[in-house]
């Protein structure tokens, strides 16, 4: 398959950035978008040109490193996949494909298609954990967790931290990301002791990082590679309210 590409090139954080045109020729339909970029980059390098920078690692949808806006859609035009999982057979031969970085105020562009998502780490550091030191743990089967609860916690815990929710949200909100962690730990008995502090601290950090607020458009759920449900946002809101009342 052959494609015409329009790719966002930006030298560094301060550069204004612009689109550049490339062609990708003889691409296998089973190749992923990133494997297509590998081909383009190999040619660029051989020609002595600066290759297109993009983040990636596992290439199987779990590490959360990759993330491009493809033809205007976060992780591409479809639902519930990461960029690395998107195969060229989903496009037509000869298509023009536009590739841009994730755009959200708290994710500054580092170079080309690479953005800085360390804001997510700082939100986790603010409270996305259970305080238990190594060696303090009681016998694992000591506390029963009903299967239904464990499954629901796992649904939330699947978040890969790619940032698609924030990049796709018209307000640039990271609510789905925060909600996934708050919800997972609020559901499990192990996380209950700190549920109040956790919800407050994580939301405060999210605001501090400059993420917008959630106005229930729910674009995030559709674009989440793991389909983390917006019902977790409802739980976060309850947790937050509960914590707020308790602390006043």
């Amino acid at each position: 398959m052959d494609f015409k590409l329009k790719v966002w090139r930006q030298k560094n954080r301060d550069d204004k950035g612009h689109f550049e045109d490339y062609t990708a020729k003889g691409i296998s339909e089973a190749a992923s978008v990133l494997e297509m970029l590998d081909v383009v980059n190999r040619e660029l390098v051989a020609a002595g040109k600066d290759p297109i920078a993009f983040d990636h690692d596992c290439r199987e949808g779990i590490c959360g490193s990759c993330g491009l806006v493809i033809n205007g859609g976060v992780h591409g035009p479809f639902e519930h996949n990461t960029t690395c999982e998107l195969r060229m057979r989903r496009f037509s031969d000869g298509d023009t494909i536009v590739l841009e970085p994730f755009r959200a105020r708290p994710f500054p562009i580092i170079k080309d298609l690479v953005v800085d998502r360390s804001a997510f780490d700082r939100i986790m550091q603010a409270g996305g954990y259970v305080t238990v030191k190594t060696g303090q743990a009681p016998e694992a089967n000591g506390i029963a967790v009903p299967k239904k609860i464990a499954d629901e916690a796992m649904d939330a815990a699947q978040c890969v931290g790619c940032g698609a929710c924030a990049a796709t949200c018209p307000n640039g909100s990271a609510m789905l990301f925060v909600a996934a962690k708050v919800s997972q730990l609020a559901l499990l008995p192990q996380g209950k002791a700190e549920r109040k502090e956790r919800a407050l601290a994580m939301v405060a950090q999210m605001d501090k990082e400059g993420f917008g607020s959630c106005s229930n458009t729910y674009a995030c759920e559709a674009k989440c590679p793991k389909g983390v449900s917006v019902t977790h946002i409802a739980r976060l809101n309850r947790e937050y309210l509960r914590a707020g009342f308790g602390s006043k």
Binding site: L34, D50, R59, I110, Q125, V132, G135, A150, V160
Partner: protein, 637 residues
């Protein structure tokens, strides 16, 4: 140098607890004064960083990833072993110990393995307390499943994303300690050299991957938890950035590298489909619980698999190994798949795959049950191959997956350079010549949570440290060497991107140093690798600038180290005139095609010592003795 594994004496079941008591402690008030550098934030690195920080040490954590959570551990699918015996099927520390020693084909150190089995239960406790959402039974207790090489159910799991959940647990502990100030995390920083002063590891040189800037960082001890080197084969199930550079830098500074030829080829991966592919995708071993492996009995039978009647199918694993069946260890299952395909019985367009069929399980329990257990794997397979595994059997083929070899360490997980500790897949310990499924996650977390906090403390308490100045010759020298290394890569200015050399290397490794190794092929491989090295340094092209985010510099530097490691791996494979676990020498097999060990001559870990650019490495032997698990021939019949 005489290798001292520092294994304690006494009854094996008392060794670790006695040793913990014997080791020295650092007074809590003094711990802040010690700095420990930890490279890597996978399961081993994150758990070590969090645990050492909790003790009060000052921890500096480094990763070339943007976030600690992106480490390759995140991709582990199937599960983690622990001898909890929750299902009352006769499990115990002794049995896990035995399975691991036997699974490793009697090439691991008994004391280390026993300790691993001993702490395995605590790992599950720790993870559950962190909020890891393991799979549960209806009554609320933890669920388990079976993995290859074991006849019982001791594998804990979180759907098909166990590594993700365990890493997020360790990452949460790490994040908490970053928040508390005990750990400083340095993301997008790659270690490019080790600093050794007066024979001790005292720091590292790192390259900032965004600005290209080099900086030096000093410490009292350095822990490498930098993962495995499967990508020396180019195509593997590992994440693309996994590499061997940290290991090779330490090797060139004097740390020995043990058993590089012990590599694991995983039997159930999505087969190679074309040369556009950048990686191979694993289909977790857990699928072998409910999938049956088969090929048509007739060569070239191109019928739709559903149309092939039972009696015309060869369920060859069940036929050859009636007691373990589809759950034989990985090395055995992989070798048999290759053998079947070499005979021309393979399926698919390339003939290089066999069926993994879930029809029986789906008929028995329904598609929904299947989806609940393996949904993400089924979807992943469908997306990649465009074939629906609920409707037709998966096609699978072996691929490089894990490396048992790594930097040599003693019982303290300390390398031959004092003050340099190595954890997780980067070290060579525990798995011998073959790792059992679900035991890597166990080992990474055992090292980080339960071993290093004791042994590193002991080292710090027992060592008198001189202050190292930032401009000391060893420090400035390492930094200068690192700069020269990058200039050298940029300076070749040939025509060929690093990736092409990597591919060439991978091809040689897979064909001649892969599943079946032979003297002649290995010698050829060594010659070919030398040629690749020559061409690399003559014709490499790195474009872009060194003072910038430049993926090509990163890649070229890693490929240069892979080439050196590839040669060492082939050298090790050539010297080991026996077959054991994942190391299969065609010349050494039984009449039935199983591995044939030579315990008389090869019951040792081969620890290779660097002896200068272009010089042959020196072999040192760490002799293995078996007091509890007497080597027998490994039978899974």
């Amino acid at each position: 140098m005489k290798l001292d594994p520092k294994v304690p004496t006494g009854p094996i079941e008392k060794r670790w607890s006695q040793h913990k008591f014997d080791m020295k402690l650092v007074n809590p008030a003094n711990r802040r004064k010690y700095t420990v550098i930890i490279v890597g934030t996978g399961l081993a690195g994150s758990s070590a960083a969090a645990s050492l920080a909790e003790l009060g040490f000052n921890v500096e954590s480094f990763s070339f990833h943007e976030s600690p959570r992106r480490a390759h551990s995140i991709a582990a699918q199937g599960g983690i072993n622990a001898a909890k015996n929750y299902v009352n099927d006769g499990d115990s520390v002794w049995r896990l110990f035995h399975d691991t020693v036997k699974g490793g084909d009697y090439r691991a150190r008994e004391s280390n393995v026993y300790r691993l089995a001993e702490v395995s239960g605590n790992i599950i406790d720790q993870c559950v307390a962190q909020g890891v959402p393991f799979a549960r039974e209806y009554g609320g207790s933890l669920d388990t499943r079976s993995f290859g090489g074991a006849q019982l159910s001791r594998t804990f799991y979180a759907r098909g994303q166990t590594g993700q959940q365990l890493l997020l647990g360790a990452y949460s502990a790490l994040s908490r300690n970053i928040h508390n100030g005990g750990v400083t995390f340095h993301g997008r920083k790659e270690m490019v050299d080790l600093i050794v002063v007066d024979g001790r590891a005292r720091g590292i040189v790192v390259r900032d991957l965004v600005t290209g800037e080099l900086s030096t960082h000093l410490a009292n001890a350095v822990i490498l938890a930098t993962g495995g080197y499967s990508n020396v084969f180019y195509l593997s199930t590992n994440a693309l950035a996994c590499n061997t550079s940290a290991i090779m830098k330490a090797w060139r500074k004097g740390a020995y590298l043990a058993n590089p030829c012990y590599t694991q080829i995983h039997p159930t991966c999505i087969p190679v489909a074309g040369d556009y592919q950048s990686k191979l995708t694993l289909m977790s071993e857990s699928l072998r619980n409910d999938g049956r492996v088969w090929v048509p009995k007739k060569k070239g039978d191109s019928r739709n698999p559903a149309q092939i009647p039972e009696e015309e199918r060869d369920y060859y694993l069940e036929r050859l190994y009636p007691s373990f069946g589809n759950l034989v260890p990985r090395d055995v299952a992989s070798r048999r798949a290759k053998e079947i395909c070499d005979k021309g019985l393979g399926v698919g367009k390339t003939g290089l795959s066999v069926y993994l069929d879930f029809a029986d399980a789906i008929n028995r329990n329904g598609e929904e049950w299947m989806a609940e257990k393996y949904g993400n794997l089924m979807d992943m397979y469908h997306e990649i191959t465009d074939e629906d595994p609920y409707k037709q059997p998966m096609r699978i083929y072996p691929a490089l997956h894990y490396t048992m070899g790594g930097l040599w360490v003693d019982y303290h997980l300390q390398s031959t350079i004092p003050g340099l500790f190595v954890a997780g897949e980067a070290n060579f310990s525990d798995h011998g010549a073959n790792r059992l499924g679900a035991s890597a996650l166990m080992q990474g977390l055992a090292d980080g949570y339960f071993v290093l906090p004791y042994t590193v403390s002991d080292y710090l308490a027992g060592t008198k440290f001189e202050a190292v100045k930032a401009d000391a010759p060893e420090v400035a020298g390492a930094s200068k060497d690192a700069k020269a290394g990058i200039d050298k890569l940029m300076g070749v200015n040939g025509k060929t991107p690093a990736d092409i050399f990597h591919r060439r290397l991978g091809h040689v490794m897979w064909e001649k140093v892969g599943m079946a190794r032979e003297k002649k092929g290995l010698e050829e491989a060594i010659g070919e690798i030398k040629n690749i090295r020559k061409d690399f340094w003559k014709d490499l092209k790195v474009s872009g600038s060194p003072d910038d985010l430049n993926m090509e510099i990163e890649r070229a530097a890693r490929v240069a180290d892979f080439i050196d490691l590839g040669e060492l791996l082939a050298t090790d494979a050539l010297h080991r005139e026996e077959s054991c676990g994942g190391h299969f020498r065609v010349e050494h097999q039984t009449d039935e095609g199983e591995t044939k060990r030579d315990d008389q001559n090869f019951a040792y870990a081969a620890a290779w010592q660097y002896s200068g650019e272009g010089q042959a490495p020196v072999l040192n032997k760490d002799e293995l003795t078996f007091e509890y698990d007497i080597p027998s021939s490994r039978s899974y019949k």
